[in-house]
Amino acid sequence: MANSYYDPADLRKFGSITEWSEELGNKFFDYYGKVFEEGALSAREKSLIALAVAHVVKCPYCIDAYTKDGLQRGITKEEMMEAVHAGAAIESGATLVHGVQMMNKYNKLSM
């Protein structure tokens, strides 16, 4: 057993999750593949969304995968970093908007 929770080599074993639950695993990978096809959004745009979300959910596998995916699509590092900031802004905004709850509670409790 590896003495670390994350091993970069595990990413290429992702497909093996179907071995313990074939139907659900296959349904997931079919869905996943379909999501990232060209659609109303381009595959390129979806790759950048995936990269931003990868950072927000702090998934090291996804960050590796979508950095590489972006490179393959010719996405520039400036575009990638802006996508990460978009994710980070929403994440910090989600924290900060709770400040309103704090203010409401503060005001309610205060004379």
Partner: protein, 362 residues
């Protein structure tokens, strides 16, 4: 992975592996790496076994369509990924005598395409004479692979666009990205600006314009340890950016996968990307690409007249497995009966949509 190791490579990369006496200049060493490690340990399947599963081993040629001639390894650039290990220090140059032997073949071949490559083919002192003679043979598609910067490298090359036009040459040029940073990182400082200028000059004489018969195609290959993305999508992005930013037009973009040989192999190993890259190639293996892999319709000729299944095998010194091994003994029927020589680098041509000197194949 140490950035310092990579910066050492970049400094050293001003010279070819050969000039640096790097151990990877030895093709036996490269083949040991490609046949050993992950493959010898059974972690990844040998290419031979993979194509045997679909009944394609031994791999056999189909009709010969493309005669690709490498007129020398000398180049004005020293690109980090170069599978030829080309550069200003390479002295291997095709002689006029070998060119005469090639012309004899060009006049009689059944191939519809003649593809001149290098190095920078224009640096061969007999290049213009060879083009003039070869263009008289009536080949349907006459390609010269030009690195673009050569056109701006020296006054004596400034008229190349006109020269190409005069002989109705189909120009195929490398352009790793439509941004300066990525291009210069792979190919050297200043390459982007010179390439842009050269493309504008080619456009000015009619190359690459939407309705022009003067064909100008670009080659994209990834600037790092990753595979090329979808060729059509990349072409759209390149066309949009080059048009908007520089008013440049071109016809098609060919996305080519970097094969793990020569300087690119050196880069993969030094940057600790070799194993992941080989996994990526094998995972992306596409049986449909095997059907049209370029060695099935191409013969590659080296500067000294030896024959190979492709330019990559040439750089690995894997000559054709045929009684006929040299241009002076050329016999198309005998050659077409050969078995194609393969190794693990061949996964580079069967990954994803496939890869060839003419772009995707599947």
């Amino acid at each position: 992975m140490g950035q310092s190791i990579l910066s050492d490579i970049k400094k050293a990369a001003k010279k070819s592996l050969k000039a640096r006496e790097n151990e990877l200049a030895n093709t036996t060493k490269q083949l040991d790496i490609l046949n050993g490690g992950l493959f010898a340990d059974g972690e990844l399947p040998f290419f031979k076994d993979k194509i045997a599963q679909i009944g394609h081993f031994p791999l056999k040629p189909k009709t010969l369509e493309i005669l690709q001639i490498n007129v020398g390894y000398m180049c004005n650039q020293v690109c980090e990924h170069c599978h030829v290990d080309a550069g200003p220090d390479r002295k291997e140059i095709m002689t006029r005598e070998t060119m005469e032997q090639c012309l004899e073949v060009i006049r009689n071949t059944g191939a519809h395409t003649l593809d001149l490559t290098g190095g920078a083919p224009e640096m061969n002192p007999d290049f213009r004479w060879f083009v003039e003679e070869a263009s008289k043979a009536g080949i349907q598609d006459f390609i010269v692979r030009s690195n673009l910067t050569i056109i701006r490298a020296n006054k004596k090359y400034h008229d190349l666009p006109e020269f190409f036009k005069k002989h109705n040459v189909h120009v195929i040029s490398s352009m790793p990205h439509y941004t300066r940073g990525k291009t210069d990182k792979q190919r050297g400082d200043g390459v982007f600006d010179k390439s842009i200028q050269a493309l504008q000059e080619l456009n000015a004489v009619g190359y690459g314009m939407p309705d022009s018969n003067l064909r100008l195609d670009l080659v994209y290959n990834p600037s790092g340890a990753f595979l090329p993305g979808d060729q059509a999508a990349m072409e759209r992005d390149f066309k949009k950016a080059l048009k908007e930013d520089f008013d440049i037009e071109f016809h098609n973009l060919f996305a080519i996968t970097n094969l793990p040989i020569s300087r690119f192999l050196d880069y993969l190993i030094a940057s600790d990307n070799y194993e992941d890259y080989m996994y990526a190639l094998v995972e992306a293996y596409n049986p449909a690409a095997v059907e049209n892999v370029m060695c099935t319709n191409t013969i590659s000729v080296s500067w000294d007249g030896w024959l190979y299944d492709c330019d990559f095998n040439q750089m690995l010194d894997l000559k054709v497995a045929s009684k006929v091994k040299h241009i002076k003994d050329y016999n198309e029927d005998l050659l077409n009966d050969r078995e194609i020589v393969i190794s693990q680098h061949c996964y580079g041509c069967t990954a994803g949509a496939g890869s060839s000197c003419q772009g995707t194949v599947a």
